[in-house]
């Protein structure tokens, strides 16, 4: 019997079942109307650099450019066309299919309330130029992109991990990075605090909160069979059974069990 093949280049959750004749529909990529403001934006960018593709999707303009043109394109859009705010930028991991990332810059014109997404495709070992001189918000956005996706950024003033700890290994938002973390992530605290040799003593982290260990005398795992806290494992089977009871039945001060007869149900909400 063969073990089923699991691809290593994308370890994220997969659809359980897909009809092999099913073709996913696509969101229409509409052409840009001639007299639209977006057409003028396109014309302005075209003077500066090459546009690979441009269309309108769900009401927003999408422009594909070459990654080395990001500064001239964004500079034109900012200074000539008034797209003064970089709302968001990040990357999308296409390492498995195409060997790189799609980096997008989501920019906004506050005067006309128009949004453009400028996109470029960056190879795995290629770096994009930092747009920090144009938009200050790129400072943290690029740091986050480097931290979580591993997209390199050139000439960033302070390219340091933003979200993960400084000594982290790997980039967690890549498709090759498993949801529960790789080996480094799973042993991070143990390795750092106690050293690698303590792994066997401490054991892996328990990620199942419902797990019951019948020999555990410290974490309430033996409800109904109590032994003194921290008692040795040999005692576990010999302990006499302690029946479960509720405080209310014993008549604790101020705590009463709800009695159906004596309670009143309101007809209407307050």
């Amino acid at each position: 019997m063969m073990r089923p093949y699991t691809p290593k280049d994308n370890v994220q959750a997969k659809a359980y079942y897909t009809d092999r004749f099913w073709v996913a529909p696509r969101i229409p990529e509409e052409p840009i109307p001639e007299d639209d403001l977006y057409a003028e934006d396109i014309a302005a960018v075209k003077k500066q650099c090459k546009i690979l593709n441009a269309y309108i999707q769900r009401g927003q303009l999408v422009i594909y450019i070459n990654p080395e043109d990001n500064i001239p394109a964004l500079k034109t859009l900012k200074e000539e066309r008034g797209y003064e705010m970089l709302s968001e930028m990040s990357g999308v991991d296409f390492l498995a299919e195409r060997g790189g990332f799609e980096v997008f810059y989501q920019i906004l014109n506050l005067g006309t309330a128009r949004r453009i997404r400028v996109k470029c495709f960056v190879d795995e070992n290629q770096a994009v130029e930092s747009v920090n001189p144009l938009y200050r918000s790129a400072d943290w956005a690029e740091r986050e992109m480097w931290d979580l996706m591993g997209v390199k950024v050139n000439n960033h003033p302070y390219l340091k991990r933003l979200i993960m700890p400084d000594d982290w290994e790997g980039h967690p938002l890549r498709k090759t990075y498993p949801l529960e973390g790789d080996e480094f992530a799973q042993w991070y605290e143990v390795d750092k605090i106690f050293g690698k040799e303590a792994r066997d003593i401490i054991g892996p982290e328990n990620r199942d909160p419902a797990r019951v260990d019948r020999y555990d005398t410290e974490r309430f795992a033996r409800l109904g069979h109590e032994v003194p806290r921290g008692a040795p494992a040999e005692m576990a089977d010999k302990a006499e059974e302690t029946p479960l009871s509720y405080q209310e039945e014993e008549g604790v001060f101020l705590i009463q069990k709800l009695s159906e007869e004596n309670s009143k149900v309101l007809d209407k909400r307050r």
Partner: protein
Amino acid sequence: MQQTNKLRPFFENLEFEREDNHMVINFGPQHPSAHGQLRLILELDGEQIVRAVPDIGYLHRGMEKMAENMIYNEFLPTTDRMDYIAATSNNYGFALAVERLLGIEDKVPRRAKVIRTMLLEINRIISHLFWLATHALDVGAMSVFLYCFREREFAMDLMEDYCGARLTHSAVRIGGVPLDLPDGWLGALAKFVNELPSNIKDYEDLLTENRIWRMRLEGVGVIDADLARSWGCTGPILRATGIEYDIRKEEPYELYEELEFDIPVTDTGDSYGRYKLYMEEMRQSARILQQLIAMYDETEPELMAHVPQYISAPKEDIMTQNYSLMQHFVLVTQGMRPPVGEVYVPTESPKGELGFYINSQGEPYPYRLKVRAPSFWHCGILQDILPGTYIADVVTIIGNTNIVFGEIDR
């Protein structure tokens, strides 16, 4: 790192050995005025800040990664945990993004829209009251905190009566809302909304002309229009710089096109100006809610969009009709499969522009989901506005930017 010994004083947070007479202070991440897990490394010259480095990531839960491993409906409750002060605005932002991805935005029934808009505005009031309470407490006004929390409690009771939860609401679904309003809820809302303006007046009486409040806020944490635009600041911070930009007006969603409300703007750019905006925004939210109460009765009792391909049928149909049951089973076990493409959908959350970028490859799981959280940029700007201010103002500025860490670290 200094070693503990008996000869020199040992303070974990202070570093003394510098030649330029600057002191480096570590602020947080467990500081009560840091409004969450913010660590700030401050370099001080006397009492003046020379350099500030915000360090975030202490509340990182990997929500964007989780989203890639969940079907769309599964991810919705996770969004509660981003801006946990106003959870419905996150739920709604995500639901709207998915609806636009599916192209079913205009199929959401009108009653669902009325309820959603009501919930969004109640959440705005809750969030603003919470902001005012904690900010006043930071600055030293204890009584405002107690008053605001009393009002907030009434608003949270409304949320609780509607969806059963007080903080993590999940009160919105992709394609509508799960429940109709309970009996008597509109009356309770009307009562709350009618009393709110007089309560806001109480807070203003306590604060607006208060000498200490004005001294602590006026001219503190000034953000000018260029810096705000450059740092991607939105919401009250942007509007306090004189730029009138509210997504509810400029790129209307839901029912905001039909509603009458004003966008308060000021051009002082300081903390005091922002405080005034927050107060006025609460009044406007009350005004919106009053209009919505009148709208509710004119709507048909339909709550979820009828799109069998993506959205489960109503419960009655699932229980009585075979085909609806099959659809429901597939949608729950496998999830909906949106078309291939990408959307970026901004909404005006109480704190600013909350945007969801979703890249779909036609799978039941989003290929990439990026949350554009307003607090992220409002926290980043601290490194530019803190230098030059005094250490006593740090708490005012952090409190005034209204950052929440569930949203920054995600």
